[in-house]
């Protein structure tokens, strides 16, 4: 998802660029225009008189420069002006853009007061509840905690088997409310695979003879899991996050 900030920065930097460009064109146009006209009129003024007679030698140097100047004006000054416009625009645009970025990043993300969400995140009770949440769901929908707390040696396999079926279904349904589990790799287990050059170590765990540099050839021993279509619940803070499952009392 593109955040609102990114959209702001994009539109702002565009704006800055065009304003810079227009101002640069006007400024450099004015400067070079002024130069051109000044040089032209000076040349006209001088061209009729003997340069060496009237003016001191310092001026003579300058005037001869002027004379040289008029002809190459079109070849030299115009591209230089354009280049200056371009470079000036780019440099100032980059500077302004980065400072705009900095300023925008200081603005809180949404109109809701941002500090509150930050506080919630840091709230240890809420963090604890988020960590324990899935346990309470597995218990409520699949009696998972009751099952783990049983001493299986007290029962024979048939009884355990019967109980497990419904626990399996309950826990599975509970999990499906929040995530869809998908194998990380599409290929079957025991099929061969090439681990790519710049592989992500969180995606591939290598065992066996790992010598040299990737790519590696190997056999899939486990396809891995990925949580997809995550449906994130919104959890409220409770007084005591350690209360996983309430005790039940039937009132008479």
């Amino acid at each position: 998802m593109i955040s609102k900030k990114q959209i702001y920065i994009k539109s702002l930097s565009k704006k800055i660029f065009w304003i810079q460009f227009i101002f640069s064109v006007i400024f450099f146009g004015a400067v070079s225009g002024a130069l051109y006209f000044y040089a032209g009129s000076a040349y006209n003024m001088i061209s009729g008189v003997n340069v060496s007679k009237i003016y001191p030698p310092e001026y003579q140097n300058f005037l001869s420069l002027l004379l040289e100047f008029k002809d190459p004006f079109n070849i030299f000054i115009l591209p230089a002006t354009a280049g200056a416009v371009f470079i000036f625009t780019i440099i100032t645009w980059l500077i302004l853009r980065s400072s705009a970025k900095k300023t925008i990043s200081l603005i809180p993300t949404s109109r809701e007061p941002a500090p509150e969400t930050d506080n919630k995140k840091d709230d240890p009770e809420l963090e604890k509840r988020k960590f324990l949440h899935i346990l309470s769901v597995l218990q409520e929908d699949g009696r998972f905690l009751d099952f783990l707390s049983e001493d299986l040696s007290d029962y024979d396999d048939q009884d355990i088997g019967a109980a497990v079926r419904s626990i399996h279904k309950g826990c599975n349904d509970a999990l499906k409310k929040y995530v869809e589990l998908k194998p990380l790799l599409d290929e079957e287990e025991e099929s061969s695979i090439e681990v790519p050059k710049n592989f992500n170590p969180d995606k591939y765990k290598l065992t066996g003879k790992v010598v040299g540099n990737p790519p590696f050839k190997g056999t899939i021993k486990h396809r891995g899991w990925r949580a997809s279509n995550i449906n994130m619940p919104e959890l409220k803070k409770t007084d005591d996050a350690e209360l996983l499952v309430p005790a039940e009392v039937e009132v008479e």
């Binding site: 007290d154 019967a162 079926r165 449906n231 619940p233 919104e234 409220k236 803070k237």
Partner: protein, 589 residues
């Protein structure tokens, strides 16, 4: 026109057991994939909010001592008086006196005062009860708030400004429609259309088969839409016509409102299982009986989707921590399931068989009018009468079972002599009604095939015959048709031949009668001997304001509104004065 101030077309399947919302941005192309399902945030556990496509139509009233710090608050609502959705259903199972369920079915219950605060029914625990209309409004309010929470900041996206289509059972009479309209208006919906659910399911099929439907159904074909949901069953017949080379669709019949559905099957199965368990010497407590109901539903779904399995194990745990030792085991055989379903609920029966109505044999407990005969196929036979459908479109949770669809299809095929009834496949029976409703709004806006439908019943008023009074014998009455079956939306009927002299400054009231059969009567036509054929729906009444004792001649006018409701007026023959007749919603007992 102000109509284009909205950005979305929203279809709401305001179901008896679940509510589903589909929506479409009007700037999209209207392809099937453009119709989105709105995931509705709801409380699924105290302090936990999860977004889900189905919002169970349950309203739970927590006790004061149960409310504590955000347990039942929503992002848009701090008030914890009541909650709607999944946890309302779950907790309501544990505290039945604190939950409103099936509010929709109460809307067409003539035996209660539908605008009085009567729900939860028979509850001492809840002090501030809701009327059936208010209950529907609150479910809509939940959707409204959830919508505005998600889309509210986008310009032109406020819920009540959108183009909203709400679906109702095809069997809903004029009063139930009026009450649904009231619920929607109380929620603030401005741009509203009411639409029949089976038609919406068919529109959703049309959307899924946009390119090919003309090859799949042909002229003179009859399509039966068979919608069996959790609590209700609803039938509709759609005929395919050929109009100068192009196919047209018309809804030609709708069934009665049947309060029988999948929940009844689950209940029957759990009774069977409970008796099996108790005959083996074990006894279930109330918690286990409740969980048995869920197990029965799961077992039914499992056996129906795995036809190769002969039985499924039923395991009921005890509530306590001793999980394995407290486990009670049983099993549901496929033969038992098919006996209950195929013989109890969908028995093969002859075409002429009628449902058994033995309700008159004793005092009936007030409450919902559950069907006394749960044999859906018998109701279907009665509905189809002389029609032989060439296709069936199934809808509703129960109909997810391919086996059951096959069984019904065979039964219907058997009734017709030469035709082999085929199935039109419905890909997602959970969401098809909501999607179909949004698609209907799209078709109205941008063009496309539409089902010709109109009014779903014929309405009459009862008037006294003009003949000399005979002492001891009540004045005979006759029925005058005021709104015929198929009356088009947006049209007006004025019964000019029947003038009534009414006294101003007094109340006037007519008995409103209905017939769900497609009677061949013209507006204004009278029916003499109607007692066995027509059913009294309610009274329509008004107070004639004006100078006392003035007598004026009036005629009756009927308006079929664009929204999908009926309005009746007394109109003065001499001038422009009109009085709207309102439905009497008091108990009809």
């Amino acid at each position: 026109m102000a109509e284009n101030n909205y950005r979305y077309l929203i279809g709401i399947d305001l179901g008896t057991s679940n509510t589903v919302v589909s929506y479409l941005d009007i700037n999209e192309d209207g392809n099937e994939s453009d119709f989105k399902i709105f995931d509705i945030p709801q409380i699924v556990k105290p302090g936990e909010i999860l977004s889900k496509p189905l919002l169970p139509s349950f309203i739970f009233f927590p006790a004061e001592n149960e409310k504590n710090k955000d347990r039942y608050t929503l992002p848009w609502q701090d008030d914890e008086t009541y909650i709607v959705g999944e946890y309302a259903r779950k907790r309501g199972g544990e505290l039945p006196a604190r939950v409103i369920s099936s509010a929709k079915s109460w809307l067409c219950n003539q035996h209660v005062q539908r605008e009085e605060n009567i729900l939860p029914w028979n509850s001492d625990e809840v002090k501030d009860k809701f009327s059936p209309v208010r209950a529907q409004t609150e479910i809509l309010n939940h959707i409204k708030d959830a919508w505005n929470h998600k889309f509210g900041n986008e310009p032109g996206s406020s819920f009540t400004d959108q183009n909203i289509t709400v679906t109702i059972p095809a069997s809903f009479d004029a009063v139930a429609r009026e009450l649904t309209l009231k619920a929607c208006r109380s929620c603030g919906i401005k741009n509203l259309t009411l639409m029949e659910e089976p038609q919406a399911a068919f529109y959703s099929w049309l959307l899924a088969n946009e390119e090919t439907w003309r090859k799949k159904i042909n002229k003179d074909d009859l399509v039966l839409v068979c919608d069996v949901g959790g609590g209700t069953s609803d039938f509709t017949l759609i005929k395919v016509y050929d109009n100068q080379g192009s196919l047209e669709l018309e809804r030609i019949a709708v069934g009665n409102h049947l309060l029988v559905g999948g929940d009844n099957i689950d209940l029957a199965l759990s009774h069977l299982l409970n008796s099996k368990i108790s005959s083996s010497g074990k006894k279930l407590d109330s918690w286990q009986v409740r969980s048995l109901l869920n197990k029965a539903r799961e077992a039914k779904e499992y056996l129906f989707t795995n036809p190769d399995k002969e039985y499924v194990e039923i395991v009921v745990h005890s509530k306590g921590m001793k999980l394995i030792s407290g486990t009670v085991k049983s099993e549901l055989l496929f033969s038992e399931l098919s006996q209950i379903v195929n013989q109890g609920f969908f028995p093969e029966c002859s075409k002429d068989e009628k449902p058994v109505n033995n309700r008159k044999t004793g005092l009936m407990e007030a409450g919902l009018n559950y069907e006394s005969d749960p044999a859906v196929t018998k109701h279907l036979a009665e509905f189809l009468d002389s029609y032989s459908p060439s296709f069936i479109l199934f809808n509703g949770g129960v109909m997810k079972s391919e086996q059951l669809r096959e069984h019904i299809r065979n039964t219907v095929s058997m009734w017709s002599d030469e035709k082999n009834t085929k199935e039109l496949l419905n890909h997602n029976s959970d969401t098809s009604v909501a999607v179909g409703a949004a698609y209907y709004a799209w078709v109205k806006l941008k063009g496309g095939i539409r089902i010709k439908s109109g009014l779903n019943k014929t309405y009459y008023i009862e008037v006294a015959s003009s003949m000399p009074a005979i002492p001891g014998i009540p004045t005979p009455t006759k029925a005058v048709c005021v709104a015929p079956f198929g009356m088009e939306e947006g049209s007006v009927i004025k019964i000019k031949d029947n003038q009534y002299m009414l006294t101003l400054g007094e109340e006037v009231s007519f008995n409103l009668l209905e017939s769900s059969e497609k009677d061949d009567v013209a507006p204004g036509e009278t029916v003499e001997d109607f007692q066995n054929r027509l059913e009294k729906l309610t009274e329509i009444e008004t107070f004639l304001e004006g100078e006392k004792n003035e007598m004026i001649p009036v005629i009756l006018e009927t308006y079929a509104t664009e929204v999908g409701t009926l309005e009746f007026y007394c109109a003065s023959v001499n001038d422009d004065r009109k009085w709207k007749l309102e439905f009497n919603l008091r108990s009809q007992d």
